[in-house]
Symmetry: C2
Subunit: 148 residues, 2 copies
Protein backbone atom coordinates (compact mmCIF):
# COMPACT_ATOMS: atom_id res chain seq x y z
CA UNK A 1 0.00 0.00 0.00
CA UNK A 2 1.41 3.38 -1.07
CA UNK A 3 0.45 6.63 0.64
CA UNK A 4 0.53 10.09 -0.90
CA UNK A 5 -0.10 13.57 0.46
CA UNK A 6 -1.37 16.35 -1.81
CA UNK A 7 0.98 19.32 -2.21
CA UNK A 8 -1.68 21.74 -3.44
CA UNK A 9 -4.95 22.00 -5.35
CA UNK A 10 -6.49 23.19 -8.61
CA UNK A 11 -8.57 26.37 -8.75
CA UNK A 12 -10.82 27.25 -11.69
CA UNK A 13 -14.37 28.36 -12.42
CA UNK A 14 -15.28 25.84 -15.09
CA UNK A 15 -18.33 23.67 -14.29
CA UNK A 16 -17.25 20.02 -13.99
CA UNK A 17 -19.40 18.85 -16.88
CA UNK A 18 -17.70 21.34 -19.21
CA UNK A 19 -14.08 20.53 -18.35
CA UNK A 20 -13.54 17.94 -21.11
CA UNK A 21 -15.04 20.14 -23.80
CA UNK A 22 -13.25 23.33 -22.71
CA UNK A 23 -9.93 21.59 -22.03
CA UNK A 24 -7.89 23.28 -24.77
CA UNK A 25 -8.80 26.78 -23.71
CA UNK A 26 -9.39 26.54 -19.98
CA UNK A 27 -7.19 28.45 -17.55
CA UNK A 28 -6.60 27.22 -14.00
CA UNK A 29 -4.48 28.14 -11.06
CA UNK A 30 -2.46 25.54 -9.22
CA UNK A 31 -2.08 26.66 -5.63
CA UNK A 32 0.90 24.86 -4.10
CA UNK A 33 1.00 24.68 -0.31
CA UNK A 34 3.13 27.48 1.17
CA UNK A 35 5.47 24.90 2.67
CA UNK A 36 6.43 23.71 -0.85
CA UNK A 37 6.71 27.13 -2.51
CA UNK A 38 10.53 27.01 -2.74
CA UNK A 39 10.29 23.68 -4.53
CA UNK A 40 8.88 25.58 -7.56
CA UNK A 41 12.05 27.65 -8.02
CA UNK A 42 12.97 27.70 -11.70
CA UNK A 43 9.76 26.07 -12.97
CA UNK A 44 9.01 29.36 -14.81
CA UNK A 45 11.87 28.59 -17.21
CA UNK A 46 9.79 25.78 -18.72
CA UNK A 47 6.92 26.44 -21.12
CA UNK A 48 5.07 23.22 -20.25
CA UNK A 49 4.63 21.06 -17.17
CA UNK A 50 3.12 17.73 -16.26
CA UNK A 51 0.53 17.95 -13.54
CA UNK A 52 -0.21 14.76 -11.59
CA UNK A 53 -3.43 15.00 -9.67
CA UNK A 54 -5.82 12.88 -7.64
CA UNK A 55 -9.13 12.38 -9.45
CA UNK A 56 -11.07 12.65 -6.23
CA UNK A 57 -14.52 12.61 -7.84
CA UNK A 58 -14.26 9.04 -9.18
CA UNK A 59 -15.68 7.86 -5.88
CA UNK A 60 -16.14 4.24 -4.95
CA UNK A 61 -17.53 3.07 -8.27
CA UNK A 62 -16.25 -0.35 -9.33
CA UNK A 63 -13.53 -0.04 -11.98
CA UNK A 64 -14.58 -1.77 -15.21
CA UNK A 65 -11.67 -3.39 -17.07
CA UNK A 66 -13.32 -2.94 -20.48
CA UNK A 67 -15.20 0.17 -21.55
CA UNK A 68 -16.45 1.89 -24.66
CA UNK A 69 -14.29 5.03 -24.97
CA UNK A 70 -16.24 8.23 -24.42
CA UNK A 71 -19.24 6.13 -23.42
CA UNK A 72 -19.92 5.56 -27.11
CA UNK A 73 -21.16 2.03 -27.91
CA UNK A 74 -20.03 2.46 -31.51
CA UNK A 75 -16.38 2.58 -30.37
CA UNK A 76 -14.66 -0.78 -29.70
CA UNK A 77 -14.55 -2.23 -26.17
CA UNK A 78 -11.19 -1.06 -24.87
CA UNK A 79 -9.16 -1.77 -21.75
CA UNK A 80 -9.33 0.97 -19.16
CA UNK A 81 -5.50 1.28 -19.19
CA UNK A 82 -5.67 1.91 -22.95
CA UNK A 83 -7.84 4.97 -22.33
CA UNK A 84 -7.51 8.13 -20.25
CA UNK A 85 -10.84 7.59 -18.49
CA UNK A 86 -10.99 8.79 -14.87
CA UNK A 87 -12.32 5.64 -13.24
CA UNK A 88 -9.14 3.49 -13.33
CA UNK A 89 -7.27 1.22 -10.89
CA UNK A 90 -5.29 4.15 -9.40
CA UNK A 91 -7.16 7.33 -10.33
CA UNK A 92 -4.09 9.53 -10.75
CA UNK A 93 -4.71 12.13 -13.45
CA UNK A 94 -1.99 13.36 -15.77
CA UNK A 95 -2.10 16.45 -17.96
CA UNK A 96 0.42 18.36 -20.02
CA UNK A 97 -0.32 21.99 -19.24
CA UNK A 98 1.03 25.21 -20.66
CA UNK A 99 2.67 27.26 -17.91
CA UNK A 100 1.59 30.86 -18.35
CA UNK A 101 2.89 32.39 -15.12
CA UNK A 102 4.34 31.68 -11.70
CA UNK A 103 3.74 34.03 -8.82
CA UNK A 104 5.27 32.59 -5.66
CA UNK A 105 3.35 29.42 -4.87
CA UNK A 106 0.72 29.93 -7.59
CA UNK A 107 1.04 28.63 -11.14
CA UNK A 108 -1.33 29.82 -13.84
CA UNK A 109 -1.77 27.13 -16.49
CA UNK A 110 -3.73 26.41 -19.66
CA UNK A 111 -5.12 23.00 -20.78
CA UNK A 112 -5.25 21.34 -17.38
CA UNK A 113 -8.40 19.19 -17.54
CA UNK A 114 -8.97 18.93 -13.79
CA UNK A 115 -11.99 19.91 -11.71
CA UNK A 116 -11.91 22.84 -9.31
CA UNK A 117 -10.66 21.60 -5.95
CA UNK A 118 -8.65 18.67 -7.34
CA UNK A 119 -5.71 17.68 -5.09
CA UNK A 120 -2.33 18.03 -6.84
CA UNK A 121 0.28 15.32 -6.21
CA UNK A 122 3.26 16.40 -8.28
CA UNK A 123 4.51 18.92 -10.83
CA UNK A 124 7.20 17.83 -13.28
CA UNK A 125 8.83 19.91 -16.02
CA UNK A 126 8.14 18.79 -19.60
CA UNK A 127 11.30 18.33 -21.64
CA UNK A 128 12.55 17.03 -25.00
CA UNK A 129 12.28 13.41 -23.91
CA UNK A 130 8.53 13.83 -23.41
CA UNK A 131 7.85 15.21 -26.86
CA UNK A 132 7.41 12.40 -29.38
CA UNK A 133 7.01 13.65 -32.92
CA UNK A 134 5.69 10.62 -34.70
CA UNK A 135 3.15 8.55 -32.80
CA UNK A 136 0.65 5.82 -33.58
CA UNK A 137 -2.84 5.94 -32.06
CA UNK A 138 -5.85 3.65 -32.67
CA UNK A 139 -8.03 4.34 -35.67
CA UNK A 140 -10.98 5.31 -33.47
CA UNK A 141 -8.87 7.86 -31.61
CA UNK A 142 -7.49 9.44 -34.77
CA UNK A 143 -10.95 9.75 -36.31
CA UNK A 144 -12.66 11.06 -33.22
CA UNK A 145 -10.09 13.09 -31.34
CA UNK A 146 -7.28 14.14 -33.66
CA UNK A 147 -6.59 17.86 -33.68
CA UNK A 148 -7.54 19.27 -37.07
Amino acid sequence: MIKLNPIGYVKNDIPEDEVSRKRSEMISEIVIDDCWADALTGIEDYSHIFVLFWMHKTGETRVEQLIHPRGDNKLPLTGVLATRVRNRPNPVGLAVAELLERKGNILTVKKLDAFHGTPVLDIKPYDDYDSIESIKVPEWWAKRCRKK
Copy 2:
Protein backbone atom coordinates in the same frame (compact mmCIF):
# COMPACT_ATOMS: atom_id res chain seq x y z
CA MET B 1 -4.09 10.84 2.73
CA ILE B 2 -4.36 9.00 -0.59
CA LYS B 3 -3.75 5.29 -0.95
CA LEU B 4 -2.61 3.47 -4.06
CA ASN B 5 -2.12 -0.19 -4.92
CA PRO B 6 0.43 -1.26 -7.55
CA ILE B 7 -1.01 -3.03 -10.60
CA GLY B 8 2.26 -4.63 -11.69
CA TYR B 9 6.01 -4.20 -11.71
CA VAL B 10 9.00 -3.47 -13.94
CA LYS B 11 11.40 -6.22 -15.00
CA ASN B 12 14.82 -5.54 -16.51
CA ASP B 13 18.45 -6.54 -16.09
CA ILE B 14 20.06 -3.09 -16.01
CA PRO B 15 22.06 -2.29 -12.84
CA GLU B 16 20.40 0.56 -10.95
CA ASP B 17 23.38 2.88 -11.28
CA GLU B 18 23.28 2.56 -15.07
CA VAL B 19 19.59 3.23 -15.60
CA SER B 20 19.91 7.01 -16.16
CA ARG B 21 22.75 6.63 -18.65
CA LYS B 22 21.19 3.73 -20.57
CA ARG B 23 17.69 5.20 -20.55
CA SER B 24 17.37 5.81 -24.31
CA GLU B 25 18.24 2.26 -25.25
CA MET B 26 17.09 0.16 -22.33
CA ILE B 27 14.38 -2.45 -22.77
CA SER B 28 12.10 -3.48 -19.92
CA GLU B 29 9.07 -5.63 -19.40
CA ILE B 30 6.08 -4.34 -17.52
CA VAL B 31 4.33 -7.29 -15.92
CA ILE B 32 0.76 -6.31 -15.13
CA ASP B 33 -1.04 -8.39 -12.49
CA ASP B 34 -3.15 -11.13 -14.07
CA CYS B 35 -6.28 -9.63 -12.57
CA TRP B 36 -5.77 -6.44 -14.66
CA ALA B 37 -4.74 -8.13 -17.93
CA ASP B 38 -8.04 -7.33 -19.69
CA ALA B 39 -7.54 -3.66 -18.84
CA LEU B 40 -4.69 -3.58 -21.39
CA THR B 41 -6.97 -4.48 -24.32
CA GLY B 42 -6.13 -2.19 -27.24
CA ILE B 43 -2.98 -0.66 -25.73
CA GLU B 44 -1.02 -2.27 -28.58
CA ASP B 45 -2.62 0.19 -31.01
CA TYR B 46 -0.55 2.98 -29.47
CA SER B 47 3.16 3.43 -30.21
CA HIS B 48 3.91 5.17 -26.91
CA ILE B 49 2.61 5.01 -23.36
CA PHE B 50 3.02 6.86 -20.11
CA VAL B 51 4.15 4.68 -17.24
CA LEU B 52 3.46 5.93 -13.73
CA PHE B 53 5.50 4.12 -11.14
CA TRP B 54 6.39 4.23 -7.48
CA MET B 55 10.03 5.18 -6.93
CA HIS B 56 10.36 2.76 -4.05
CA LYS B 57 14.12 3.21 -3.63
CA THR B 58 13.93 6.87 -2.55
CA GLY B 59 13.55 5.65 1.02
CA GLU B 60 12.97 7.89 3.98
CA THR B 61 15.50 10.57 3.05
CA ARG B 62 14.30 14.09 3.79
CA VAL B 63 13.11 15.85 0.61
CA GLU B 64 15.20 18.95 -0.08
CA GLN B 65 13.20 21.78 -1.68
CA LEU B 66 16.21 23.20 -3.54
CA ILE B 67 18.83 21.06 -5.25
CA HIS B 68 21.58 21.35 -7.83
CA PRO B 69 20.28 19.38 -10.83
CA ARG B 70 22.29 16.21 -11.49
CA GLY B 71 24.15 16.82 -8.26
CA ASP B 72 26.29 19.37 -10.12
CA ASN B 73 27.18 22.45 -8.04
CA LYS B 74 27.82 24.41 -11.23
CA LEU B 75 24.12 24.19 -12.13
CA PRO B 76 21.79 26.71 -10.45
CA LEU B 77 19.93 25.79 -7.26
CA THR B 78 16.56 24.62 -8.55
CA GLY B 79 13.27 23.66 -6.92
CA VAL B 80 12.72 19.93 -6.70
CA LEU B 81 9.39 20.30 -8.59
CA ALA B 82 11.31 22.00 -11.43
CA THR B 83 13.42 18.85 -11.87
CA ARG B 84 12.72 15.17 -12.46
CA VAL B 85 14.80 14.05 -9.47
CA ARG B 86 13.52 10.94 -7.69
CA ASN B 87 13.50 12.28 -4.14
CA ARG B 88 10.40 14.51 -4.32
CA PRO B 89 7.30 15.16 -2.16
CA ASN B 90 5.35 12.28 -3.74
CA PRO B 91 7.91 10.01 -5.44
CA VAL B 92 5.71 8.98 -8.37
CA GLY B 93 7.84 8.43 -11.46
CA LEU B 94 6.65 9.24 -14.96
CA ALA B 95 8.20 8.07 -18.21
CA VAL B 96 7.16 8.17 -21.83
CA ALA B 97 8.03 4.71 -23.12
CA GLU B 98 7.98 3.22 -26.59
CA LEU B 99 5.64 0.23 -26.65
CA LEU B 100 7.34 -2.55 -28.60
CA GLU B 101 5.01 -5.44 -27.89
CA ARG B 102 2.11 -6.66 -25.79
CA LYS B 103 1.73 -10.33 -24.97
CA GLY B 104 -1.23 -10.84 -22.64
CA ASN B 105 -0.38 -9.09 -19.40
CA ILE B 106 3.23 -8.29 -20.39
CA LEU B 107 4.31 -5.11 -22.16
CA THR B 108 7.78 -4.82 -23.66
CA VAL B 109 8.92 -1.20 -23.67
CA LYS B 110 11.92 0.95 -24.50
CA LYS B 111 13.12 4.09 -22.65
CA LEU B 112 11.48 3.38 -19.31
CA ASP B 113 14.00 4.68 -16.76
CA ALA B 114 12.82 2.58 -13.82
CA PHE B 115 14.72 0.11 -11.67
CA HIS B 116 14.05 -3.62 -11.81
CA GLY B 117 11.27 -4.42 -9.35
CA THR B 118 9.66 -0.97 -9.45
CA PRO B 119 5.91 -1.07 -8.64
CA VAL B 120 3.75 0.22 -11.51
CA LEU B 121 0.75 2.40 -10.64
CA ASP B 122 -0.81 3.23 -13.99
CA ILE B 123 -0.41 2.93 -17.75
CA LYS B 124 -1.87 5.67 -19.95
CA PRO B 125 -1.80 5.89 -23.73
CA TYR B 126 0.22 8.78 -25.19
CA ASP B 127 -1.75 10.84 -27.69
CA ASP B 128 -1.58 14.04 -29.76
CA TYR B 129 -2.37 16.22 -26.75
CA ASP B 130 0.78 15.01 -25.01
CA SER B 131 3.11 15.85 -27.87
CA ILE B 132 4.17 19.50 -27.73
CA GLU B 133 6.27 20.55 -30.69
CA SER B 134 7.75 23.80 -29.52
CA ILE B 135 8.84 23.92 -25.90
CA LYS B 136 10.98 26.16 -23.70
CA VAL B 137 13.41 24.62 -21.21
CA PRO B 138 15.99 26.33 -18.96
CA GLU B 139 19.37 27.21 -20.43
CA TRP B 140 21.18 24.68 -18.22
CA TRP B 141 18.87 21.90 -19.39
CA ALA B 142 19.28 22.75 -23.06
CA LYS B 143 23.06 22.85 -22.75
CA ARG B 144 23.43 19.71 -20.70
CA CYS B 145 20.63 17.39 -21.76
CA ARG B 146 19.35 18.37 -25.19
CA LYS B 147 19.28 15.55 -27.72
CA LYS B 148 21.82 16.27 -30.40
